[in-house]
Amino acid sequence: MIEVKNIRKGFGDKIVIDDVSAVMEAGKCNLIIGASGSGKTVFMKCIVGLFKPDSGEILYNGRNYIEMTNEERKEIRQQIGMLFQGSALFDSQTVEENIMFPLNMFTKDPYHKKLKRVNEVLERVNLKDVNKKFPAELSGGMKKRVGIARAIVLNPKYLFCDEPNSGLDPQTSLVIDKLIKEITTEFNITTLVNTHDMNSVMEIGDHIIYMYQGRKEWEGNNKEIIFSKNERLNEFIFASEFLKDAKDMRMLEHTGKINGDRNIS
């Protein structure tokens, strides 16, 4: 479980995260949604400690992360898996070496065991025949998936994914969503996902935080989001006619009637 209490973060005089609090429970997919530039990435980087918040507290299972010594923080970090928005693969290493890197660093397993694990996670992210390729030879979506594979290879206790689905086709996107959901419940991981993919929101959104210009504007789950009357949220999430229709269908499913004021604007 990760608790975030009143964190603020600014760059210069620009406030990017403004007094956000949230509780991310283990075993649930916690989603941060919001427009481009709303501060999702900065929020995530504050939680993992790549940015130091200007104020506020971050608790990992009740332990204050910001005030820890370097050694204590390292210990927590070895239980973190993170996918960066730009994948952040080691570009001098092959896909296999990239994914094996955490295993090489933190386990004493023999090579064949490590290789087996690498192939296992590659299969889970739907990638084949890329072991010996370098990151520069992969498409954006493939890099994302290698990034996810590297993030989960050590069975982390905390999983952070910054836009795991951007650049993926709908089908692969679904595979990734399912994977995230599965491992989250299976290993009781505390998972935090930044996304603007509405499919993911509906599929795996156990706990959704909507960020608007650095503030927490709305919070709930993927059922509640359909009935939300928050105007900004509705505008953001049900932006197209297609999505509005989808919303109506879901409402019909849950309540047996379509909301009259469908064109909330």
């Binding site: 980087k45 993992v48 790549l50 370097n70 390292k74 210990e75 927590i76 970090r77 070895q78 973190i80 993170m82 960066f84 730009g86 952040a88 693969l89 080691f90 570009d91 890197f101 955490p102 090489n104 660093m105 933190f106």
Partner: protein, 248 residues
């Protein structure tokens, strides 16, 4: 940023390097990799400059020594001492500042900008220890070695040029080489080699590690790494000469 805060940040980087490795084997592998990058990677250019600087010193020394009162073997003696005292350590290190320094700065800069350093940090790895330390140690091992190789090749190049141009016979050159040979000069050259190796690797690592921005900044900071390393080398060269050479 002022010079003062930059220097403070540099010291913090050096201090941050010292921590227990997460996995000794991986650190060792990285060290070996850096040794080959730094040592083997710049061997070619070192060989070329060394031979030519020895050759040119012989020809120019003989041009300057017009008097018949001075024995020809003195040429060899002068070439030997200038190569060992100044050319092999300082000139070679200035070139290495360009070759090795820009490589270190751009490698780290690229890793910083593409968030690879962040990714390592999040895995719980001390990136100062894992990325910076092996580069500095590898430089400390390989650069003095290159200086020694360069001195030997420089003296050999001088002999070659002297013979080819007919300014000095090989046996006279060899006789000159052992005249008044001071082993202390070799020690002095090695002190320079170690000092410059540290300067090149740590300054370049600093500029690479703390890059902010994108590809443009990587280029800028590797240029700055080379310029600052060169100035620091020349400065240290003077200090060492003033401190270690008995000039009275």
């Amino acid at each position: 940023m002022t010079l003062f805060t930059e220097f403070g940040r540099y010291l913090l980087m050096i201090k941050g390097m010292f921590s227990r490795p997460e996995n000794g084997r991986m650190y060792w592998k990285e060290l070996m990799h850096q040794c080959s990058e730094i040592g083997i990677g710049s061997l070619g250019i070192v060989v070329i400059i060394s031979v030519f600087m020895g050759a040119v010193s012989t020809l120019q020394t003989s041009y300057q020594l017009v008097s018949n009162l001075i024995p020809r073997s003195t040429i060899a003696q002068i070439v030997r001492d200038t190569v060992i005292l100044e050319f092999a350590p300082t000139l070679v290190c200035i070139v290495l500042a360009g070759v090795v320094g820009s490589k270190i700065a751009s490698e780290l800069g690229n890793m910083r900008v593409s968030e690879q350093i962040d990714a390592l940090e999040i895995m719980g790895i001390n990136t100062k220890a894992y990325l910076v330390m092996p580069k500095i140690i590898a430089a400390l091992i390989m650069i003095p070695l290159l200086v020694v190789i360069s001195a030997a090749l420089g003296i050999w190049g001088g002999r070659l040029a002297g013979v080819m141009a007919g300014v000095i016979a090989p046996n006279i050159y060899d006789k000159g080489l052992v005249q008044d040979f001071k082993p202390y000069n070799v020690f002095f050259a090695l002190v320079k080699g170690y000092t410059f190796a540290y300067i090149i690797s740590s300054i370049s690592a600093y500029y690479g590690y703390f890059v902010k921005g994108g590809a443009l900044e990587i280029g800028r900071s590797s240029t700055r790494a080379v310029v600052v390393s060169c100035v620091a080398i020349l400065f240290a060269d003077y200090i060492l000469a003033a401190l270690l050479l008995d000039t009275e």
